[in-house]
Amino acid sequence: MINIHEVIETNKMIEQENLDVRTITLGISLLDCAGPDLNEVNEKIYNKITTVAKNLVSTGNKIQREFGIPIVNKRISVTPIALVGAAACKTSADYVTIAKTLDRAAATVGVNFIGGFSALVSKAMTTSDELLIKSIPQALSQTERVCSSVNVGSTKTGIDMNAVKLLGEIILETAELTKEKDSIGCAKLVVFCNAPDDNPFMAGAFHGVTEGDAVINVGVSGPGVVKKALESVRGADFEVLCETIKKTAFQITRVGQLVAQEASKMLNIPFGIVDLSLAPTPAVGDSVAEILEEIGLDYAGAPGTTAALALLNDQVKKGGVMASSYVGGLSGAFIPVSEDQGMINAVEAGALTLEKLEAMTCVCSVGLDMIAIPGDTKATTISGIIADEMAIGMINQKTTAVRLIPVIGKTVGESVEFGGLLGHAPIMPVNKFGCDSFINRGGRIPAPIHSFKN
């Protein structure tokens, strides 16, 4: 039988160390909503989402009450809309109507984000993929809850550099259209390499075509719990450090597994995966950067950061994998700048640069995330940054992503306030040297040699 000290330990994690379940994400296939008539497609999408996800929020709240653990977000991911809308959408404006339908459906069922306004173009873009990508600025500026992602590369296919070039322009355009709100539209747009089909985390979530009709994926959190556990092993060697992270990750993930199974049972929708990612929030004590500091760095970004992050990420996986029957999604430590107070502090102290963040993304999920850059950054420069990050993913057979926010009208020395979980961020300097001729070549980068395993 459970003893009082175990009960106290669990409740301390919840009450004082910000242990929570970050998201229950319901993936819904919209493939059966496709058709040639746009109005009909929109109607089918709305009806399907509001039917399948009808009880999502109330179920999440019920689980929260029964176990006494906060479930911060209830969200929906859908089939990449470039596939669903291909037959019906003849213009980018047509795609915007679908974005608005998703927004309306999300509002009806009470979720704060819906992901899947997406295109998978890791080798090349179809006409409809291109139309969707070109509709992203309008779609994100005219909706509240819709999140968009584009997969522009994979280890198997190489990198679609035409899409990379286009997305540099799209990101700037999205920034421009949402400049009254510090270009927040870009916070809802992720560019991926090796995007997973079952990621529960926004803004990059979509319901992959390899998935079933509907699925429950859960993202756990708990950087504060890991940080607290590491406080008790200060000065101990790496073996003790790693074991402590592993045990803590196991405990955190077990909670995620429990919540996922309960949600699956209550909603009568199959359980997909638990995503092991350590996801920070802007709250003090809920920071991945603070874990790195606890491991022994003055700030995230100091020499040793990449090694510390590598071991953290690896131990989280080792502990987490045994705690859940299915692990998937992104599963690694997140290092978003604006959403992590320790990261913000590191940037403000001058310890953390864009280049160091890029190095860090080689050893963790997911990529250059929630980074505010000057609004006058050139489109080709943004494309260059994306290409670098995609190359890291392609060569290392891992997911990488870019979520940059060029803040129109602001530059280095200023900061932006996005509010809520998106946090705030100092604007980071970008390398001033150009890469126009590189980006303007067009075409695609071939798949790397180690992808030929057959």
Binding site: I4, H5, E9, G68, Q257
Partner: protein, 97 residues
């Protein structure tokens, strides 16, 4: 006997706050009135605070879990302590393989 215990709908009730006369009596009276059976009680002092834990069987409870949790919380507010009711599973999963 053991098989039965495992099948029960078990809930953990925790009480945290300043020690005072009658805390356990108040909670136990409420549980008895709502046909909730107490299986185990333990208590300890952590950093000067009174911590009590009860494992109860709510299989025959006359009210829904939500209602019980809410009313216990209210009793806590009245006597100046924090009372929480949580399904045992969360502790079990976290601390047992």
């Amino acid at each position: 006997m053991k098989g039965m215990v495992i099948n029960m709908k078990r809930t953990v009730i925790t009480v945290v706050g300043k020690d005072q006369v009658g805390i356990i009596a108040k909670v136990c009276t409420y549980l008895a009135n709502n046909r909730i059976n107490i299986l185990d009680i333990s208590q300890t002092i952590v950093q000067g605070f009174f911590n009590m834990m009860m494992i109860v069987d709510a299989t025959d409870a006359t009210k829904e879990f939500d209602k019980i949790a809410e009313e216990l919380e209210q009793i806590g507010i009245e006597i100046g302590v924090i009372i929480k009711a949580q399904h045992e599973d969360i502790f079990d999963k976290m601390h047992r393989l």
